[in-house]
Amino acid sequence: MNPITPIINGLKITLKHMFMKPVTLQYPTERPKVAKRYRGLHALNVSHDKAKCVACYLCPTVCPAKCITVEAAEDANHDKYASVYEIDMLRCIFCGYCVEACPVDAVKMTEEFELANYNRQDFIYSKERLLVK
């Protein structure tokens, strides 16, 4: 084979790519399109102005990373609710088991993936932060 041929072939590819749409996303100026079933940051569903969560402890039980803390309490109507609901995002492996386990559809995973933070403490998401706004 002529020693020049591979070089020409290579240049051809390079030239072709110069006219193609770039693959690289210019994040953060450009935003990715997140799939519907993406498992991002959790959120607690709300109904009747209250978190739907009934503090059944199934999500902390099933969570393989043991990163969910629930503490149950009784409200004025004697209903059970989560007085504490915390997820430690540093430990979460985003497996989605919690969502699957929940018997009352109280926890979901959103498309939110920008979870960076400066302090470890800020990775612990309290109930307040998790509630669907």
């Binding site: 009934v54 503090a55 039980t61 149950a72 009784e74 004697h78 059970k80 018997p103 009352v104």
Partner: protein, 824 residues
């Protein structure tokens, strides 16, 4: 034994077994929902249906059908499985299915069966139950929407507890479980009904929503309240004891507990617990370090005879033995005691003289094996409720006769055919002597009795106790005394039971010997179902006696120690866990003594009123935070393991005593286990026991007895001063000692002291239920809530001793009976 075939397997079973028992015995599982091995067969739920070939393949309940020879049984044919699925579908039809918020989930029979039988849809539709839920009860939450009407709660409350608080009300589809007149639940709060409820209809309110069942670690332990020695399973999460868990295979009592054992655990993780050593500086207790506190204590202990100690019989055997070692070998004093001295006299003076052993000659297990129970004081139920359950079952299931000699009536008096002879307060020894006299007089004495040492002396000394003479003083008729004597003599097996404790100063050595004399005269001792059982008050009262932690060889006893503190001869007093300011008689005297003593050391869980007076307070562990052994009142030695980690700055009493021994130049055995092997070597009956061997069950320490007749001194008959009432002290069902005040559960249902009086007296003094009345004696006066009950005889009032807020010892100086006035 009968032979039968279950699922094609040839098996044998005892004649009186049901099909369910036979299957279980042979490892074949039949599902049950309404059956409980402790209760009589009921057959309400039909989960246990099986087919018996001889009955033409009909489906019959296994839990109620007795086995017969040659039965051929199928337990899991497709038809049976279908029938069980139908049962479950029907149960789930009206059930709220609120497992996510139900605390029973994870431990629920209905849930488990539904899962096993994969019942995930329902052919039928109907409305859910809409019963009102009882959220108001402080201890037991009742949600009848979840009820499967198995009737276990109703049955256990009747058959074992003997209270009968719950019943089926209404009929048909409306049927539910409730109290009479659909009232709130106001019962003994033993929680037995909660423990057997297969679903979440009855739940412990203090544990509500605290944790899911599967998140709890279960730790076997021994109850830290009374001397019954019930075994206990603590439910622990995040190093906190959150609840007690029922285990139907645990202990002689099969997991049944009383209100204190079941609901009194909250003192363990109480916020009021002491967390660091305190030292008094300028009149105030200031937080300090262990080194400083122990150095200070060691410096004050080095003073021989001027040092004295009081220990609570709640410490473990190992701790009491080590404390004694510290006092005898390193301090050089014999002045130590427990339970005020007199509360253990029945054992240490009474039984030791009569039986030659400081232990009861019968066990709790003898109760159901006896033919006649002679109970002294109905209070035996209140002091030892689970022993009371045994009495209930003996009377109801085994037809055991129950005779009670008491100064008031009580729960035991209500048992079928129970006869209660109510005597004037303080005359129990005289009554027992009169029974002994009758036995002699009517020649009801066993042949062997005259061979027992002291027979002649006894015969002579009883001459003044003819039934007629005693009847005149004690208020029981001579005929009744004689009848009781002849019944006692005629019974093949008879057991005498009496409680002892700090509030029962009349239950002393004389009472013990008088009771022992009856057993000796009729030959009813050293045999199954016979003997005399002293119910010691605290969880390790018997252990404290076995460890020799009481005044001996000229050492000062509990009350003498306090006297000597006041006189100044005792200069350093070490109180480990006792709370004499509330629990010893004569508060002003105790207070003066504790003020007078130069240096007071208290090791405690809480800053009790006694600890508040101390110069050094050492924070120590509860039973859940340490390991060791307790000896129950019938000498069952039980080992328990640490259930939770202790907080950093507290120590076990064992560690405290070890460090003190080290500071005084001695060496303490490294661990409680090592010390226990020493204890086992030298304590009568404990030979061969080790912590490891006691791990599963515990073992009885046998007592070798040699009977001897001792002449009991009967107190002169008590007559209240004119116009006054006779006050008797005692224990309340919901409490034990002063510790239960910190155990939340008991305080929810019995939060304050009270005085119980008869209707006659209430009418006489125009007192209504709940009135605040002033009770005065020669030593003081006290404001108490009035409680009017039919059980009190006219002229007698009763008040328990557990309460720091209204301590009965302000008006009680230790006499068995005190003259008091009651006014509004």
């Amino acid at each position: 034994m009968v032979n039968l075939t279950i699922d094609g397997k040839q098996v044998t079973a005892p004649k009186d077994a049901t099909i369910y028992d036979a299957a279980k015995l042979n490892g074949i599982k039949i599902p049950i929902l309404c059956h409980d091995k402790k209760l009589k067969p009921f057959g309400a739920c039909r989960m246990c249906l099986v087919e018996v070939e001889q009955m033409k393949g009909r489906q019959i309940p296994a839990c109620t059908t007795p086995v017969t020879e040659g039965m051929i049984i199928q337990t899991a044919t497709p038809e049976i499985v279908k029938a069980r699925e139908l049962v479950l579908e029907l149960l789930l039809l009206n059930h709220p299915l609120d497992c996510p918020v139900c605390d029973k989930a994870g431990d629920c029979d209905l849930q488990n069966l539904t899962y096993d039988y994969k019942v995930d849809s329902n052919r039928f539709t109907d409305l859910k139950f809409q019963h009102e839920i009882d959220y108001n009860n402080p201890l037991i939450e009742r949600d009848m929407n979840r009820c499967v009407l198995c009737g276990k709660c109703v049955r256990i409350c009747d058959e074992i507890v003997g209270y009968g608080a719950l019943t089926f009300i209404d009929r048909g589809i409306e049927t539910k479980i409730g109290c009479e007149f659909e009232d709130g639940l106001n019962c003994e709060f033993c929680g037995s009904c909660i423990s057997v409820c297969p679903v979440g209809s009855l739940l412990a309110r203090p544990f509500k929503h605290k944790a899911r069942f599967w998140a709890l670690t279960k730790h076997e332990s021994v109850c830290g309240y009374c001397g019954t020695g019930c075994r206990l399973t603590l439910g622990v999460k995040d190093n906190k004891v959150l609840t007690t868990i029922y285990d139907e295979n645990q202990g002689f009592h099969k997991g049944q507990l009383c209100v204190r054992g079941r609901f009194g655990y909250q003192f363990i993780n109480s916020k009021k617990r002491l967390t660091t050593p305190l030292i008094k500086k300028n009149g105030r207790l200031i937080e300090s370090t262990w080194d400083e506190a122990l150095d200070l204590v060691a410096g004050r202990l080095n003073r021989g005879n001027s040092v004295a100690a009081l220990a609570a019989p709640r410490l473990t055997n190992e701790e009491l033995a080590l404390f004694k070692k510290l006092l005898v070998e390193n301090v050089g004093t014999k002045n130590f005691d427990h339970a005020a001295g007199y509360a253990h006299a029945a054992l240490t003076e009474g039984f030791s003289r009569s039986f030659g052993a400081t232990a009861s000659s019968a066990s709790i297990l003898d109760i159901q094996k006896s033919d006649l129970l002679l109970v002294i004081k109905t209070d035996s139920y209140e002091t030892h409720p689970v022993v009371g359950f045994e009495v209930n079952m003996a009377v109801k299931n085994k037809g055991v006769k129950l005779s009670i000699i008491s100064d008031k009536r009580g729960k035991l008096s209500k048992l079928p055919h129970a006869q209660t002879l109510v005597h004037r307060p303080g005359s129990e020894v005289a009554v027992l002597n009169a029974i002994a006299w009758t036995l002699l007089d009517e020649k009801l004495v066993a042949g062997s009795a005259s061979l027992i040492a002291g027979y002649a002396d006894l015969e002579k000394s009883l001459s003044g106790f003819s039934a007629e003479a005693v009847a005149a003083q004690c208020g029981i008729s001579a005929a009744d005394i004689k009848k009781l004597a002849s019944e006692y003599a005629a019974a093949e097996k008879a057991l005498i039971i009496f409680p002892a404790g700090q509030a029962y100063s009349g239950h002393n050595a004389d009472l013990a010997t008088a009771a022992a004399n009856l057993a000796f005269l009729t030959g009813k001792y050293d045999k199954e179902g016979c003997g005399v059982l002293c119910l010691s008050e605290k969880n390790n009262s018997q252990g404290a006696v076995d460890m020799g932690f009481f005044a001996q060889d000229g050492g000062l006893n509990g009350l003498q120690i306090l006297d000597s503190c006041a006189e100044g001869t005792v200069k350093t007093l070490f109180i480990a866990g006792e709370n004499p300011l509330t629990s010893y008689p004569n508060r002003s005297k105790v207070k003066a003594a504790l003020e007078a003593v130069e240096f007071l050391i208290v090791s405690e869980l809480f800053l009790t009123e006694t600890a508040a007076m101390a110069d050094v307070v050492l924070p120590v562990c509860s039973f859940a935070e340490k390991d060791g052994t307790f000896t129950s009142t019938d000498r069952r030695v039980q080992y328990f393991k640490q259930a939770i980690r202790k907080s950093v700055l507290i120590k076990t009493d064992y560690e405290v005593f070890s460090s003190l021994i080290a500071r005084l130049g001695g060496v303490a055995p490294a661990t409680p286990a090592v010390l226990f092997s020493e204890i086992a070597d030298k304590t009568a009956g404990y030979q061969g026991m080790t912590h490891v061997s006691l791990l599963k069950e515990g073992a009885f320490a046998a007592a070798v007895t040699t009977p001897k007749f001792i002449v009991p001194q009967a107190a002169a008959p008590f007559t209240a001063e004119t116009g006054k009432l006779s006050l008797v002290t005692g224990s309340a069902l919901y409490h034990n000692g002063t510790l239960s005040q910190y155990g939340e559960g008991p305080m929810h249902v019995c939060p304050e002291n009270y005085v119980e009086l008869s209707r006659t007296d209430a009418a006489l003094y125009k007192i209504a239920e709940g009135d605040l009345v002033t009770v005065s004696s020669s030593s003081g006066s006290l404001q108490l809530k009035a409680k009017i009950t039919p059980r009190m005889p006219a002229g007698v009032v009763f008040s328990p001793y557990h309460f720091s807020d209204a301590p009965i010892n302000t008006i009680w100086s230790g006499a068995p009976v005190t003259s008091v006035t009651v006014s509004k």
